[in-house]
């Protein structure tokens, strides 16, 4: 029996289908008699619907028209809270709120019709900022505009201020960001009242859609079927919103009796679907004169938009990551997710952590400067060590060595020599260069007790031909699920890569292995694949069909004999928390994550003081992620995440106009292109994690967390200007430099 696939860059399982155009995305699917669906949106950020009228010149009798009153079940998108309607009924709370659905066989006419629907909405005063929401200028949600708040307490932070040698305060802000998956959102639904509802589409979480459709139609589980079509990227943007589109397509299909396809174009996808939560973080930090953290007080607020959606969980991850990979005896974190009249913000790679880590890693550079230490020396004195506890009281049990990661990153980036050279050469230059870094971690899997609640299941089934099928709801969205599951199953069973088949996620045939989010697919679900594979093997060994040291041919014989005598050969595995893991939701105390990935990222930038343009010239990403299952896919995750984070830091500026995304086109929402992204040099450290498959941990979100603060720290190193927000547009850098110049003149 051989193990040879994990750690090797085997070809992607679905790579051939994708490069040859065989892969079928939802917009490639055409059903007989299919209609196209479109959504009429509120266009008013907050108000009451007074009337809906259908303009002249459109053959309305040819159209299927759906409003809230056509909903057979519950009019909410079932997720955490039940506050977001599928179709506005009376009140509208953001400008992209769906009000009317239309379907017609001719999609261009549909667009004319969409423009001809007039909504009469009585406008109410909207709230657009975190401050206005916190100050309850208007109560727009619940009793206090708060979707969720958390409080984390460690030690006694109130006592540290009196004995601190330094107290440093700061406020930091991050903007919204659009996921920009290549394939826009889309769904096809077939819905027949007596038979049930089936949807095909682009998604990350088939069972989220399944749950939402059950409530929307009042149907039992077996009358709702959700099938993932090939999916062109997600980044969190297809975690929850597909439930909305699936519901819309299904409502139109239910009423018309025909299959209905809804595909968003880029402008609708950018404007209406979820984006990363904007944030504001305030830090107050007490430090001793020998550079030790004494106390941290952190106030973290995210803008959730108009409805709850996933904000409580995004807030949770952001809260837990807010103190970073440091040891501090006294910590208080207060965090809140507030309502505004923007389209709901949602999941996006990093899920709250990029926001709070940006704030911390900028703030710690200011703290270091205040006490006269270099950024690296200050961090060295405070990195968390094995045996120490995090802010939630989690004892670090693994052999974490942040100092080593930092040292390696600084050597690989030539940090010390370059900072010295730039300091010498920058003066008098129009183009100024700088170096910056950030140290951070990312918890893998669901937060706290989340994985226990999910209780994910994976099933493996062997065929008489000795092939093994993996049945899971975990989706391939471009990141490599199919490939790594095949590697894990094949190595566990000692089979060839091609002997493993991954079944397409379909709620009628795969068990619920949980959502494809939270860097959990490899570590958590991959471990279930491994366990189920070992279970399959044990069944064959225990039944006497499989000898020790078997060959693939022996495995095939064993499967055939087993199935002939006993029927189907299946093995399933359900999530069990690692021993010793405890979490208390009420006190927000305990082991927030089974484990973390750890990293230090270094950026080299050039700031052009003629145009205030910033370019990233070099990027070194060093991380400890447990065993790397597939080196090419893993490096690709890091490179892609860093590129996305460069966009977050420097380019991707959502321009809001009365709660609507004003720049919802790729020509004016600026993402970096290949020429704006430097070489990204990726280095892995591998400390195997006992509860991941072959020792792997999660890594998909990690690269989103550290690049932005590293880049902004480098801008500070180049220019001497301390910037406290992202994105850093040339316009805002110009203003920041002007303020600094004036301060220098006055001094």
């Amino acid at each position: 029996m051989k193990k040879h696939l994990i750690g090797r860059p085997v070809p992607r399982k679905e790579g051939r289908a994708k490069v040859t155009g065989q892969a079928r995305y939802v917009d490639d699917l055409v059903f007989p008699g299919m209609l196209y669906g479109a959504t009429v949106r509120s266009r008013v950020p907050r108000g009451r619907i007074k009337g809906i009228s259908f303009g002249e010149g459109i053959p309305w009798h040819e159209f299927t028209i759906v409003t809230a009153k056509d909903i057979p079940g519950e009019n909410y998108v079932a997720l955490i809270a039940h506050d977001q309607p599928y179709l506005a009924d009376g009140a509208v709370n953001h400008s992209e709120e769906p009000v009317v659905l239309l379907a017609h066989p001719e999609k261009y006419l549909l667009e004319e019709a969409r423009r001809a629907v007039q909504l009469e909405i009585e406008a109410l005063r909207p709230t657009f900022t975190i401050e206005d929401s916190l100050n309850k200028k208007e109560i727009i949600w619940g009793e206090d505009n708060l979707f969720k708040s958390y409080s984390v307490e460690k030690g006694n932070v109130d006592e540290v201020w009196a004995r601190a040698d330094f107290i440093v305060e700061g406020e930091y802000r991050t903007g919204a960001q659009e996921q920009l998956y290549i394939e826009t959102n889309g769904m096809i639904a077939v819905a027949i009242p007596e038979k049930g509802v089936t949807v095909w589409g682009s998604m990350q979480c088939p069972y989220y859609v399944h749950k939402a459709l059950m409530a929307l139609f009042g149907l039992p589980a077996d009358k709702v079927r959700v099938i993932q079509s090939e999916t062109g990227g997600g980044f969190g943007g297809k975690e929850e919103y597909p439930s909305m589109i699936a519901g819309h397509a299904a409502l139109l299909a239910w009423k018309s009796g025909k299959p209905v396809k809804i595909i968003y174009d880029r402008a609708e996808d950018m404007a209406a679907t979820t984006k990363r939560h904007p944030s504001r973080t305030r830090h107050r930090t007490a430090v001793s004169k020998d550079g030790k953290l004494l106390g941290m007080e952190i106030d973290f607020v995210i803008d959730g938009g108009a409805y709850t959606t996933l904000s409580p969980v995004v807030l949770s991850r952001g809260t837990i990551h807010a103190p970073g990979p440091y040891f501090c005896p006294n910590v208080r974190i207060r965090s809140r997710a507030v309502a505004t009249n923007a389209p709901p913000h949602g999941a996006f790679r990093g899920f709250g952590a990029p926001q709070s880590i940006f704030a911390l890693e900028r703030h710690l550079n200011r703290v270091a400067r205040a006490i006269g230490l270099t950024p690296e020396e200050f961090r060295r004195r405070n990195f968390i060590q094995p045996g120490q506890t995090t802010a939630t009281g989690q004892v670090i049990r693994e052999n974490v060595n942040m100092n080593h990661l930092l040292e390696r990153a600084l050597v690989l980036s030539d940090y010390h020599a370059k900072t010295a050279r730039f300091a010498r050469e920058n003066s008098g230059q129009r183009r100024k260069k700088g170096m910056g870094f950030a140290s951070f971690m990312h918890g893998a899997g669901f937060t706290g007790s989340g994985e226990q609640y999910l209780a994910s299941v994976v099933e493996l089934e062997a065929t008489p031909q000795g092939r093994v099928r993996v049945l899971a709801a975990s989706t391939e969205i471009g990141q490599g699920t199919n490939t790594i599951f095949s590697q894990i199953a094949a190595d566990a069973l000692g089979l060839d890569y091609d002997s493993i088949e991954i079944l397409k996620p379909d709620t009628a045939s795969v068990p619920n292995s949980g959502p494809t989010v939270a860097s959990r697919t490899c570590m958590v679900v991959g471990k279930l694949v491994e366990a189920a594979a070992l279970g399959l093997q044990q069944t064959l060994v225990g039944s006497g069909y499989l000898p020790e040291g078997y060959t693939p041919a022996g495995f095939e014989r064993a499967c055939k004999r087993y199935i002939e005598s006993h029927g189907p050969l299946k093995s399933s595995s359900q999530y069990q928390p690692p021993p010793g893991i405890h979490w208390d939701d009420a006190t927000y105390y305990g082991d927030a994550y089974g484990t973390y990935a750890w990293a230090v990222y270094v950026a080299e930038v050039t700031v052009d003081t003629v145009t205030f343009e910033i370019e990233v010239n070099d990027f070194v990403a060093v991380q400890e992620v447990g065993k790397v299952i597939h080196p090419v896919l893993a490096a690709g995750q890091i490179e892609g995440g860093v590129a996305q984070a460069i966009g977050y830091a420097l380019y991707e500026n959502v321009v809001w106009n009365e709660g609507r995304m004003f720049n919802s086109q790729m020509t004016n929402y600026i993402m970096p292109t290949a020429v704006d992204v430097p070489p990204i040099r990726v280095f892995f450290e591998e400390l195997p994690y006992s509860y991941g498959p072959a020792g792997a941990k999660g890594l998909g979100e990690l690269p989103m967390d550290g690049a932005a603060p590293a880049i902004v720290n480098a801008i500070e190193n180049a220019t001497g200007v301390s910037i406290h927000h992202i994105p850093v547009m040339p316009e805002s850098l110009m203003e920041a430099l002007a303020v600094t110049e004036k301060a220098v003149e006055r001094a």
Binding site: K107, Y108, L109, E111, E112, R115, D265, A267, R430, R431, T609, V610, T611, F612, E613, E615, Y651, V655, F662, N663, Q665, T667, N668, I670, P672, T673, V675, D676, P730, E731, M734, E735
Partner: protein
């Protein structure tokens, strides 16, 4: 695709004569469509309000580049790709080549045309600043005849121009009179490629020792039209390059341009960067060519 396709009409005449006849017969009804790189974006977004188009893309009368001792004359349909590839343009009109290189992506460069860039009338267009610096003239043709007009003055306001409804641009002529002039072009976009200008600067100057004998400057994205900065030029003409002359010129430039806040940038940024680019241009004159490694300095002396 948000436009209702059946609502649009497209005609494709086989000759320039036929196209001009149609325009003459029904002026303001038919609008010429060349490479379509601007119109197709509006079409996709459902924002193309005009409905009747006349494709001129295949008209050979509007193609080709002709070189005489006095002029280089470019057909209206000369694409950005063709501009970049032309040896004489590369040698004598490097600012135009650089503008073409920095416009859109390769697909846009293959389809987008110089005349299309002009009549689209965007103040953020990349090639017009270079055309202004080179004292370009354009030939307007209708069924009744043709006329040459200087490009300077062609745009009369935001998206308005001296072109009559029955006319189209036939050719663009560049006088070969700038040999030996120093040249500078810098587009400041929202990123390094595939970007629309926030500020675009083209400059050219004829130097005699340390004195500016003659100068041309034009900026994009700082006014309702791409602007030839005649007053700033006047403030610099016959001046010795010096810190004092720079400061004075920057003041005049601030009076001459009228930048605005929009989705892409701010008036304050555009003003400051326009002044900084002017300074960079002038420093280059002072430094006798300056720092060749700098990407903004497209300097080419011929």
């Amino acid at each position: 695709m948000r436009s209702y396709v059946p609502a649009y009409e497209l005609r494709a005449p086989q000759s320039l004569e036929a196209a001009l006849e149609l325009l003459e017969r029904e002026p303001d009804v038919w609008r010429p469509l060349a490479g379509g790189t601007d119109l197709m974006v509006l079409f996709e977004a459902g924002k193309l309000t005009h409905r009747k188009f006349l494709s001129i893309w295949k008209l050979s009368e509007l193609k080709g580049v002709e070189v005489t001792p006095e002029h280089v004359t470019l057909g209206a349909l000369t694409t950005y790709t063709q501009v970049q590839a032309h040896a004489v343009l590369q040698r004598e009109f490097p600012l135009l080549c650089q503008a073409a290189r920095e416009t859109g992506g390769i697909a846009t460069q293959n389809r987008g045309t110089l005349a299309g860039n002009i009549v689209n009338g965007s103040p953020a267009a990349d090639s017009p600043p270079a055309l202004l610096v080179y004292d370009a003239q354009i030939e307007l043709v209708s069924a009744r005849g043709s006329r040459w007009v200087p490009y300077q003055g062609f745009h009369t306001g935001y998206k308005t121009m001296v072109l009559r409804p029955e006319e189209i641009i036939r050719r663009i002529r560049l006088p070969r009179t700038k040999q030996g002039w120093r040249q500078y072009y810098r587009k400041v976009g929202t990123r390094k490629a595939q970007a629309i200008s926030k500020v675009c600067f083209a400059g050219s100057a004829q130097m005699q020792h340390n004195t500016i004998r003659d100068i041309r400057m034009a900026l994009g994205s700082v006014a309702p039209i791409v602007l030839r900065c005649a007053r700033t030029e006047a403030a610099l003409r016959s001046q010795k390059v010096s810190a004092g002359a720079f400061a004075a010129a920057k003041e005049v430039l601030a009076q001459e341009i009228t930048p605005i806040d929009d989705m892409r940038s701010t008036a304050a940024y555009r003003l400051r960067v326009a002044q900084n680019l002017l300074e960079e241009f002038l420093l280059q004159l002072q430094n006798n060519g300056g720092d060749e490694s700098h990407r903004g300095l497209a300097a080419a002396e011929s």
